[in-house]
Amino acid sequence: MIKILVNRAIPNSEKIKNRQDFDLILKKRNQISSKNILPWYFGVIGLASFIVAIMTILL
């Protein structure tokens, strides 16, 4: 159900400005970037380890 609010108080520019936090944005963005790296990074490392393990057993 859609809520309709009439003459609702709107925060002023100063209040909105005080809630800016660019450091938090950067931090969260870096978390996303490292999450994106994890699958291929550990995929490649995992595959290499598997090949080394197989080679060790075979040799």
Partner: protein, 191 residues
Amino acid sequence: MAVNLLYHQSTFRLEDEMSQIEIAKKDPRQFAPLYKKYHEAIFRYIYKRVDDEEAAYDITSCVFVKALASLPKYEFRGVPFSSWLFRIAKSELYQSFRDKKAQRTVSLDSVTIVQFIDELNEDFSEEQRTILLNSLRLLKENQLQLIEMRFFEKRSFKEIGDIVGLTENNAKVKTFRALVKLKEIFNKSKS
């Protein structure tokens, strides 16, 4: 109709903004000026559509995190950077409704209601006001957002089109159809 200065910028400002974007693509810390420039506009867009102020701040943060993460893919193809941000805001907003983190809300003031009832060629009365508010609830979401942007936020058809992914002409046609639909619901409710 009021002019949105963040949308309608001079060529010089747009070129300056493009160079800021290119710098930020190489170094995300340089995104700060763009964040400061658009934070309030994006927050206000979201705040009007959710019932909780804190949720609006959270969604606004998510918009800029997504924008910063997707910035390397941003290319200017006729859609201003501000509209690209509003598109992300729209997508984050609907995701928060699906996740039930926020409730879909329409924020209006009395003056806008009087002006809008006039747009429907009706005389204002308390009864008409109640019928209008109930009629808005019966509109489809895509029609409601067009009415909201055009009549409550006074955005140009070009800007609306850029945000919802339509041409200026299509935005005009679809907004007109949404208005006709609203009139139909309004008249049905009256009778």
